[in-house]
């Protein structure tokens, strides 16, 4: 199994398109860096809290950036940067025909699929943490480190050390949310011969679920939609942290990931490789 994962990893890391997600993360940081560099804390405060504050010094720092970026990109963009490899690992190889070259070898299809899922998951989690690393790195370079200012429920100032811990936890929770969308892309990837369709399919599911999630008529469905639980990382920014809610959302998302993988496994084991 370890050997299969290494094989999949070797193929993925040598493929230039694997790094699209990472490049996108860097590009997306640019406008944030510009706005924090040239903008003034007062403006942010007015927008966030709705009142004017007199600010002495600044709360613009690496931690603030890492948190601010997250609020914007975790909603839609990150799940898709995190899904590119998941959508590609099966469909891409089906499209290129290398899937048949692989599967005529005496190898278990289940083991191949599990190795592929693990690599896809590593990418989804990796891209998410890359956003944290890049925000802290570039933010630290430009603005330095300091206490984390949270405006979620009134104003809450979290000391640097705890702030870093909370960010780490929030990104880990967000990685699970990204992984759940990647898992949908992975499932679609087993059904199609083109990575674009797989990621597009996941996007379609995401949008339709998102629509259902805002229509009051479907209110009774809301607790069961994965999209309802995707903002779980925000709970780590509340004081006190609602751990029970957080745990429930995490369990839902993990369940969605497992269900997608199992469905993919059932389909892949029976799939006729025609490409």
């Amino acid at each position: 199994m370890i050997r299969l994962i290494r094989v999949e990893l070797a193929k993925v890391v040598r493929r230039p398109r694997t790094y699209l997600g990472y490049v996108a993360v860097l590009l997306i940081l640019v406008p944030f860096l510009i706005s924090l560099h040239y903008g003034r804390p007062e403006h942010f405060l007015r927008a966030q809290v709705g009142r004017d504050f007199a600010v002495v010094g600044t709360f613009f720092n690496a931690l603030f950036l890492a948190h601010l970026v997250m609020k914007v990109v975790m909603v839609v963009f990150m799940p898709f940067f995190g899904s590119t490899v998941a959508g590609d690992v099966v469909a891409g190889e089906a499209g290129e025909g290398t899937l048949r070259t692989m599967l005529v070898r005496p190898v278990s299809r289940s083991a191949v699929l599990l190795a592929k899922y693990i690599v896809a998951a590593l990418h989804a989690v990796g891209v998410t943490f890359f956003l944290l690393a890049a925000s802290l790195g570039l933010g630290g370079l430009l603005f330095g480190f300091g206490d984390l200012f949270l405006f979620e429920a009134g104003l809450c100032i979290v000391p640097l050390k705890e702030g870093l811990l909370r960010l780490l936890g929030a990104y880990a929770a967000a990685a699970l949310a990204v992984l759940s969308v990647a898992s949908i892309a992975f499932l679609v990837s087993v059904l199609v011969d083109n990575a674009l369709y797989a990621v597009g399919g996941a996007l379609a599911v995401f949008i339709i679920t998102g629509v259902v999630a805002v229509i009051p008529y479907f209110e009774r469905l809301h607790p069961y939609l994965f999209i309802t639980h995707m903002d779980l990382w925000q709970k780590l920014m509340l004081d006190p942290v609602p751990w029970a809610e957080l745990g429930r959302s995490a369990a839902w998302l993990a369940g969605y990931c497992a269900a997608c993988f199992l469905a993919a496994l059932l389909l892949f084991r029976r799939k006729d490789i025609l490409s």
Partner: protein, 318 residues
């Protein structure tokens, strides 16, 4: 039928006489189209087995069923005595295959491709990889990306990939498709060499009669998803030898030939007669014609073209 029980036993127990590959009653339907319909195949140790049929006859689907890529609706496949459906890993352990056009990782080098594909099933040492690359004549380009390879080189790398696990059986799907004439000759020579020197049993599909005649000793002909005949190549293709005879006057020649026992004048086309007879009697025919005062300008022993062969087999001769 009495050897069907043997197919389920391990190859060692069944001995050298057991077929390397046996398919029984393979069928596959896509939607309304019955692509493969009850195909039986038997490939014996040491065979270079040609699987001959026009495009769309069901060759590729059959090969995909023989390699476990496609699940048959009905029928069984046993390779080296192992049931492919029930024990796919044992069945495929000593099998190499190239299904359709060679599909490799373009962003990896030839050697990396082999390493990645070998790692799926136990791995291959760098020495073994060098050995197979030398065997297919790619040792000089081993570290170039496959993206830069010609089609013929990719075909040879795919063959190298099939050779990695020291297979007893290699399945090749249209191995010369898309190659230039030089590439075709190279690949055919390689196939013959693998069979003769490495003792590998080879199953290859083709729509080219000449190719099968050149490299195969046994053949099965598939048409519209069904195997029409199966046997040794000379037997099958020489089954109805004929002679094309150009002689004047043509009508008189026809009468003379029609009068000889064991000779059948099949058709007249463009001033010549197509005569079905034993090729050993050509001289007799010539003598008879000359005696009767006919002037014979050509006596050409013929073989059926693939097209005619199929038309004959399917009974749809115009």
């Amino acid at each position: 039928m009495q050897s069907a029980a043997q197919a389920n036993e391990p190859s060692q127990a069944a001995g050298a006489a057991a077929p390397v590959l046996r398919a029984a009653g393979l069928s596959k339907r896509y939607g309304k189209r019955q692509v493969v319909d009850g195909v039986d195949l038997e490939v014996r140790r040491g065979d270079v087995f040609g699987f001959l049929g026009p495009n769309g006859a069901g060759k590729s689907t059959t090969i995909r069923m023989l390699t476990g890529l496609v699940r048959p609706d009905a029928g069984t496949v046993a390779i080296l005595g192992h049931d492919l459906h029930r024990r796919p890993q044992q069945a495929l352990a000593r099998v190499g295959a190239v299904v359709e056009a060679p599909a490799l990782y373009p962003h990896l080098s030839g050697d990396q491709n082999l390493a990645v594909l070998a790692a799926l099933s136990g791995g291959a040492s760098p020495e073994r990889r060098r050995e197979v690359l030398r065997l297919v004549g790619l040792e000089g380009r081993a570290h170039d990306r496959v993206r830069t390879y010609s089609h013929g080189m990719k075909q040879r790398l795919a063959l190298a990939q099939a050779l990695l696990p020291q297979p007893e059986l290699i399945l090749l799907d249209e191995p010369t498709n898309g190659l230039d004439p030089g590439g075709m000759v190279e690949v055919r020579q390689l196939i013959r060499r693998l069979a003769a020197e490495e003792g590998i049993t080879i199953f290859l599909s083709s729509h080219l009669l000449a190719e099968v005649e050149q490299v195969c000793n046994r053949v099965a002909v598939i048409h519209k998803g069904q195997v029409l005949v199966q046997g040794s190549v000379p037997e099958l293709l020489q089954a109805a030898p004929f002679v094309t005879i150009a002689a004047t006057p043509l009508e008189q020649a026809r009468e003379v030939l029609a009068g000889i026992a064991g000779v059948r004048v099949a058709a007249t086309d463009s001033g010549a007669l197509r005569v079905e007879c034993d090729p050993g009697r050509i001289a007799d025919l010539n003598e008879a014609l000359v005696r009767a005062g006919c002037r014979v300008s050509a006596l050409v022993p013929g073989r059926l073209s693939l097209e005619e062969f199929f038309l004959d087999l399917t009974g749809s001769h115009p």
